[in-house]
């Protein structure tokens, strides 16, 4: 991340969002809205003195990066390795921004005058040739599986929360402690939460088996706890992955094959008191078991970002039925989209782990650069054309085109189709009331001829004199 931030040919626009895209391959115009962070990036050196100056002497607001496991101040650095190393101010909680009445301790502490409470949203327009969409994924909301008690029992965690707990830069400095301060003596990891499930998401999220194994290893290493993995199938495809699984088997991590039915605090035996009990059918021995543990970890799956429909329409790309962005071909064109010049990288296209994401992103970057380097594009001949003599300037086609390939030439009073943008779907051809648009290779004449040929009486000669 740091490398990308420092590279002379890379401009990073963080805390920004794309609000508009127009143009076509090689000539995209992208509108970017940069949110105010109230700290000037050009002046700040990342000394973080401002954090000490803040009127809030103790952090009181939930830290988003640590999933609310600890607190931050209204002025904060999102996380230790954040790029750029510039803090930002949360306008919903900053006294100065909320009420205008604050001693501005942060600004006083800053000897470079980088704090700027007057900063406004900036909108800029960028001219780019190619676009890579790498908007990532969201983990499944554990509220979708209420029978696992997330939010009801404090010691039920998501895997991402445990990931922060075991991290040296996390809220506890790498110490695994429960919400009441105890060290867990036994941990149950439930696989496939929100994956491979008719009730939530049907797909396999691909990464959960491996990260569950990693967490099992780290939890055992950090706490010495008894660790149980509850799985449907162990899916460990990848270099060195199966070996890691075998290593865990030797380490004495317990594996129970079966989907957990529920997590409950209802104890029916003395050893279950004060613990969370996982009810599960152990399909290897064909028995329903009750396993009491101190800590439950939900290995939540991956799903598309909640705004993936809006992002897809912004960039003119399509989505597969699961909601992830659709590649042009699952095997032969895995990083391209059906819009020329727009590429996909990483989990925005579908669940994948880090090595696969790095490979996917590398492919996307190479494709994007190769296209720019070539300087010209080859387009399909199957596109639509306007017969300017017939066009009645009704503009029906303008709104119907999914690729905004049609523009209206006010001077000539006709619709014009951009050859580079048109994908040849033919929607405008069907919609044109004047019959002025023809789709190459699928003209009305050609389709009518097909209908006539297919329905010709056997042995009968057609009007054109061609025998059937």
């Amino acid at each position: 991340m740091m490398d990308a931030g420092r590279h002379p040919n890379i401009t990073l626009l963080t805390y920004s969002e794309v609000t508009g895209v127009s143009g076509y391959v090689g000539n995209y115009k992208v509108t970017v809205k940069k949110h105010p962070r109230y700290v000037r990036e050009d002046l700040c050196v990342g000394c973080l003195q401002c954090l000490e100056g803040c009127i809030f002497k103790t952090p009181r607001f939930p830290d988003e990066f640590n999933l609310g496991l600890n607190q931050r101040k209204p002025i904060y650095l999102p996380f230790a390795q954040a790029t750029p190393q510039v803090p930002l101010i949360d306008p919903a909680n900053c006294l100065q921004l909320k009420t205008g009445k604050c001693k501005r301790g942060c600004a006083e502490k800053c000897d470079r005058n980088a704090i700027d409470f007057e900063q406004k949203e900036e909108v800029q327009e960028l001219k780019v040739g190619t676009i890579i969409v790498a908007t990532g994924f969201k983990t499944v909301d554990p509220g979708k599986t209420p029978y696992y008690g997330y939010g009801k029992y404090p010691n039920v965690y998501t895997a991402l929360e445990v990931e922060r707990l075991v991290s040296a830069t996390g809220p506890t400095g790498g110490e695994v402690v429960l919400r009441d301060g105890r060290k867990p003596e036994s941990v149950g990891i439930i696989h496939c939460v929100g994956s491979r499930d008719e009730k939530t998401n049907r797909w396999c999220s691909r990464v959960c088996c491996m990260y569950s194994l990693k967490l099992a290893h780290l939890l055992k290493d950090h706490t010495g706890a008894r660790v149980y993995n509850f799985y449907i199938d162990m899916r460990t495809p990848g270099k060195g992955y199966e070996e890691f699984y075998n290593r865990l088997l030797e380490e004495g991590v317990f594996f129970i094959r079966g989907r957990v039915a529920e997590v409950t605090d209802w104890a029916i035996k003395t050893e279950e008191e004060g613990k969370l009990v996982l009810r599960v059918e152990d399909t290897m021995i064909g028995q329903v078991r009750r396993i009491p543990v101190d800590m439950v970890v939900l290995s939540t799956g991956l799903e598309p970002q909640p705004d993936s429909a809006a992002v897809a329409s912004l960039f003119g790309i399509s989505r597969s039925p699961d909601g992830f962005f659709a590649e042009a071909h699952p095997k032969l064109r895995p990083v391209e989209t059906n819009t020329d010049g727009v590429f996909l990288a990483g989990c925005a296209q579908g669940p994948r782990d880090v090595p696969d994401t790095v490979a996917h992103a590398g492919a996307a970057a190479s494709m994007a650069i190769a296209l720019l380097d070539k300087g010209e594009v080859t387009i399909s001949p199957t596109i639509a054309q306007v017969d300017e003599k017939l066009c009645s300037a009704c503009k029906t086609c303008l709104s119907i085109c999914p690729y905004t390939a049609i523009t209206f030439d006010a001077e000539a009073n006709v619709a014009k189709i951009n050859d580079a943008l048109c994908r040849g779907c033919g929607t405008c051809v069907a919609a044109c009331p004047a019959g002025a648009i023809q789709g190459r290779h699928f003209t009305d004449e050609q389709i009518h001829a097909q209908i006539e040929a297919l329905l010709r009486e056997p042995g009968k000669k057609s009007a054109e004199g061609v025998s059937a």
Binding site: A312, S313, G316, A326, T382, Y403, T427, F442, L454, L455
Partner: protein
């Protein structure tokens, strides 16, 4: 052709990316389906003009199928299937005004992965049209002109 050994003639307008692929897969996988359905490939169901359907009936088709990608997200061209979704009920109403039975026109969605569904549709629809008998709309039209 006598009523007894009536073989319906059906035209299917299929989109290149979903139903055409499904029909292709059904063929390659040797799924059982009648030879009554003749397929015309279009890039997207959004290309299908109502006039194609009328033309097919006028040329002697006994039934017409229009099938494309599942809404909302399956369309290769983002939203061509939605245009079909809007147009086809109008075509249905139009056919009713022409006195063409409802069972002679089918429109719907079959994805590229649903080859068995296509084979089933081809079988069921052929039988449905067979039970309706020949349409012979061209002769009906000609007799009205006289």
């Amino acid at each position: 052709m006598s009523e007894k050994n009536f073989e319906p003639r059906i035209i299917g307008f299929l989109c290149n990316w979903c139903t055409y692929t499904a029909a292709d897969t059904a063929g390659v996988s040797r799924m059982e389906q009648p030879a009554n359905v003749d397929v015309i490939r279009v890039m997207c169901t959004g290309r299908i003009e109502p006039s194609f359907i009328l033309k097919a009936f006028a040329e002697g088709a006994d039934g017409v199928i229009v099938s494309g990608c599942h809404p909302p997200g399956d369309c290769h061209y983002t939203n061509g299937n939605f245009k079909t979704f809007r147009r086809m009920p109008l075509v249905e109403a139009l056919l009713a005004q022409f006195g063409i039975e409802k069972g002679r026109f089918h429109w719907g969605w079959i994805s590229g992965a649903e080859a068995p569904k296509w084979a089933q549709l081809a079988r069921d629809f052929t039988e449905q049209v067979r039970s309706l008998g020949p349409l012979d709309w061209s002769r009906q039209l000609a007799s009205k002109e006289d």
